[in-house]
Symmetry: C2
Subunit: 200 residues, 2 copies
């Protein structure tokens, strides 16, 4: 259990640093946006990640407390249940970051940022898979307490229409064969599709 929390602490610290990098790439895009739509778009993504960083900032010291006092880790402690649920929300946060990075891989395709973005993407993909594994273990250990509404991305839900999912994020792609999922994502990124206007 404490090992799980130590591992999650690493992941959350790492993604928090990644947010700083990502925000650094987005900042000039906001400032130099060519119109109000583009400015709002980059501002919006930046703000969502800034928000995630605030949440992590609040969660990390709580993880530390439970690492330091492992006897507080039990189902009778409401604070512990709440931390498990917060971790569960940050699982969704990692999935969401993955999508922000994939969108950025399109938007910054021909810029100097592409290699760094790809590194952040690959790291986040691994960290998301690992967080899912840890949460599954925590749920088995604590009767499903580490689950909260909104912690499962719709890509991984069975009752969501397939046409609305993105295949590379579905559980099948991620768990069945890690290599093929890496292949799928590389294929997706390398397709080199024309990025047109998002206006309908």
């Amino acid at each position: 259990m404490t090992d799980s929390f130590l591992h999650l602490k690493d992941i959350f610290n790492r993604t928090k640093e990644a947010i700083v990098d990502f925000m650094g790439i987005l900042e000039p895009a906001i400032k130099n946006a060519k119109d109000e739509h583009e400015r709002l778009y980059f501002h919006h993504i930046y703000e969502e990640e800034e928000h995630r960083s605030d949440r992590l900032q609040e969660l990390l010291p709580k993880l530390d407390t439970f690492i330091e006092y492992p006897t507080n880790q039990h189902m009778g402690n409401p604070e512990f249940i709440h931390v498990l649920q917060d971790i569960s929300l940050e699982k969704f946060g990692l999935h969401n970051f993955l999508e922000h990075l994939d969108l950025a891989l399109f938007q910054f395709k021909d810029t100097e940022h592409i290699n760094r973005l790809q590194q952040l993407r690959d790291m986040t993909f691994e960290d998301y898979q690992e967080t899912k594994r840890i949460l599954q273990e925590l749920n088995e250990q604590f009767d499903g307490a580490a689950s909260k509404g909104g912690s499962v991305p719709m890509d991984e839900k069975e009752d969501v229409k397939e046409a609305l999912k993105i295949e590379m994020y579905t559980d099948g792609a991620a768990s069945a064969n890690h290599q093929s999922s890496i292949h799928a994502q590389t294929h997706f990124i390398k397709k080199g599709l024309t990025v047109g206007s998002l206006k309908k």
Copy 2:
């Protein structure tokens, strides 16, 4: 207090219905996207709102419990503190929805959805302002317990560079003069800027 919770219940039920409407507009945009970038973009916004709907689905029965048993509403009850913090996160959720709707007002500018989007936008703007007012009261009543990391959008933070904010979302615009903020948003929407590619 119970009045505040009843009011919040109305707002959260209303925005939950608005999410369904919004997802209905996005669904064909995902299915008929002209390339993988556009598909990922609409999928991403859809998924974030679907996630928010799941969170609200979990929060609403908790509000009901505290409305039914008002004596449980006290600082010694950890569940009550958690609900206050969950409400605080949903305040950010409303701000985020506002930005999703503003982005959609650009993207669906010349479509049959524009009037409905504008209605949803206006409603969400009002509901966000009202939620902020209610949370301020709850924080005054319960020693700031209704605040959580990540509940304040960076548009309203003092330590964020002005160049990264969107003026119509800043506190000054929203609180100083309601009419002028409505005017600002109408001006923003009516500007009719050319929506180009988001590629850098």
